[in-house]
């Protein structure tokens, strides 16, 4: 028999979360956080949009331009070798970071959006035909929504949506009527950028594969915050962005299973992606080069390696634990404010750290401007998820999203400012 007290599921106590990471030390790694906004200490809570960069990542960009800058793959000189090695080193690192896949299965793009578009244009154009079905969810970001809707229109295919429950989870009660033998692709967010919900990718992957369909998971919000193992998730495509995980902007990752990537036609055409070119015949290069036409964003890819090092130094599992504690604390404190409504699951274990909320009297834009005047950066708007906003019955929400350099003091500042705001607007 188990000890009854140990069965009790208690929310992590507020003090627990602050001990998992040395947040003071981490904050110190980010030069931008030292600045003041309107004379107030900057409290950065817009991490789901983009995270800040630690000094070592900023230095890595400079160092590349100072010591290794050159084009990759083609040159025979030392710099070209150095640059190529560094660039390919990041690819290997990314492959390890997402659970130890083959580095050929990693394609660099401009970001998650381009990675999904690559799959749409290359795999989708070839494999989707009239009568086929593409399954998405009601909580998708426009990046994993618009491409599929447009493709379906073009091909006379059908979009089917997995609905959400009132508490912001995917409603799988009718899933076997949604994912069927007509389904060719299931495209689903691993973690919602609005609700924070962590979706059951493994279950959906199994459903998709049983029907002979592929599954793409949009990991833009998940990869920065939790351990991702694409082999365990059993996904066919996985996408994420460097800039949401301490890395530079302009670098995205597409993971694709080798056999699927090999069968796909190229995305962009030009240099690097070809093997042989003559007037009569052009043959494609091997993966992943086939998908990386032209000169890529070399310096930022190289610096992304440093960002991954930084996150691993802190420890992905620790990051997750820290965020569970802090998210629980934030939800608890925000819930105590009259007139505030929080979207998405309440249990921090079932969600990420993006917390969307609305005030019954004050528009999210006014919330955003007011909080900014207190040095607090949040996001206000539809978060590129207009279909979800409609379902939630909101035109917009305010969103605070947390990361490794946030602590309870940041949440306290947010809560205090929201209370001040309500009296400022006289509600």
């Amino acid at each position: 028999m188990s000890n009854p007290t140990s069965d009790k599921k208690e929310r992590p106590k507020s003090s627990d979360s602050s001990n998992i990471l040395n947040v003071e030390k981490i904050k110190n790694d980010f030069p931008i956080l030292k600045q003041k906004v309107y004379g107030k200490k900057l409290v950065y809570l817009d991490n789901a949009a983009s995270t800040q960069k630690p000094q070592m990542v900023i230095d890595a960009i400079t160092e590349f331009y100072e010591k290794s800058n050159s084009n990759i793959h083609r040159g025979l000189h030392s710099l070209a070798t150095k640059a190529t090695e560094s660039y390919e080193n990041t690819r290997k690192h990314v492959a390890r970071f997402i659970g130890g896949v083959d580095s050929d299965e990693i394609v660099f793009t401009r970001g998650t959006t381009e990675a999904i578009n690559l799959v749409m244009y290359s795999w989708g154009e070839t494999n989707i035909s009239e009568g086929d079905e593409i399954v998405i969810t009601e909580m998708e970001h426009h990046a994993n929504f618009v491409p599929w809707v447009i493709l379906a229109k073009k091909k006379n295919a059908t979009i089917k949506k997995i609905p959400i429950t009132l508490c912001g989870h995917l409603d799988l009660s009718n899933i076997d009527n949604i994912i069927t033998e007509k389904t060719k692709l299931v495209a689903v967010s691993h973690m919602s950028n609005v609700l924070g919900t962590i979706n059951p990718i493994k279950i959906l992957a199994e459903k998709a594969h049983t029907q002979g369909a592929l599954i793409l998971a949009d990991g833009a919000q998940a990869a920065p915050h939790m351990k991702v193992d694409v082999k365990d998730l059993d996904v066919d495509f996985y996408t994420f962005s460097s800039h949401k995980m301490c890395g530079p902007t302009g670098v995205g990752v597409l993971f694709g299973r080798r056999n699927i990537l090999e069968a796909m036609p190229p995305f962009n055409l030009g240099g690097e992606m070809i093997r042989q070119v003559s007037f009569d015949k052009i043959t494609w290069n091997e993966i992943p080069d086939k998908f990386e036409a032209g000169t890529p964003n070399i310096a930022d890819v190289v610096a992304f390696d440093t960002a991954l090092n930084y996150l691993e130094l802190i420890g992905i599992d620790k990051i997750r634990q820290h965020e569970i504690g802090l998210t629980g604390y934030a939800i608890e404190k925000l819930s105590e404010i009259d007139g505030l409504e929080i979207q998405g699951p309440r249990e921090p274990e079932q969600r990420g750290s993006a917390i969307s909320f609305t005030d019954k009297d004050i528009h999210p834009h006014d919330i955003g401007t007011f909080l900014d005047s207190k040095g607090i950066a949040i996001r206000a708007g539809h978060h590129c998820a207009q279909p979800l906003m409609r379902i939630l019955g909101k035109v917009a929400t305010a969103r605070a999203s947390l990361y490794i350099y946030n602590d309870e003091a940041d949440i306290d500042a947010l809560v205090k400012a929201i209370k001040e705001m309500r009296s400022y607007f006289g509600v």
Binding site: D366, A396, F425
Partner: protein
């Protein structure tokens, strides 16, 4: 910053926001227009009833922030009894004011002057423009087609 904040959220603005004018639907909608702000999701629709070439009544329904609601309310307030051409001219003044092209605005525009504080918040200018741009689009459509049809507009494209 608090001064700037107070300058944007002046009492007049908050008053219009809390009790917007033009809430009552019109009897006959001679002009109908809808607008939205794609970046924030603010939505507005308005109907104008004309009589003897003047605005007899106007209904403004704005689902948005304090600035967009207050701006729409000011539009409703000033519209009654004015001709469309007069209102086009006023809308142009408002646009110029928000873009910082003019500082002094005619006294008869009354409360509208309170929108000046928005200029310090570039991302919010769109909010203040939404109702005016939507109005102009509706009038343009009405004039072009004689009979109005629903138009759709966005401040992002029209600014």
């Amino acid at each position: 910053m608090n001064d700037q904040l107070d300058d944007m959220y002046r009492d007049i603005i908050l008053d219009h926001y809390r009790s917007p004018r033009g809430k009552k639907p019109v009897d006959t909608a001679d002009i109908s227009s809808e607008g939205m702000n794609p970046s924030c999701g603010d939505e507005i629709d308005m109907q104008v009833e004309l009589g003897d070439g003047l605005v007899k009544d106007i209904h403004v329904n704005c689902r948005g922030c304090a600035i967009s609601v207050a701006s729409g309310s000011m539009l409703a307030e000033i519209s009654k009894g004015k001709s469309l051409d007069e209102l086009i001219a006023i809308a142009e003044v408002v646009k110029k004011m928000l873009k910082g092209e003019i500082e002094e605005i005619p006294e008869e525009l009354g409360d509208i002057d309170a929108l000046q504080g928005v200029k310090q918040f570039p991302v919010r200018i769109k909010c203040a423009l939404l109702s005016w741009v939507t109005f102009l689009e509706g009038v343009k459509n009405y004039k072009n087609k004689d009979k109005s049809e629903k138009t759709s507009t966005s401040t992002e494209e029209k600014e």
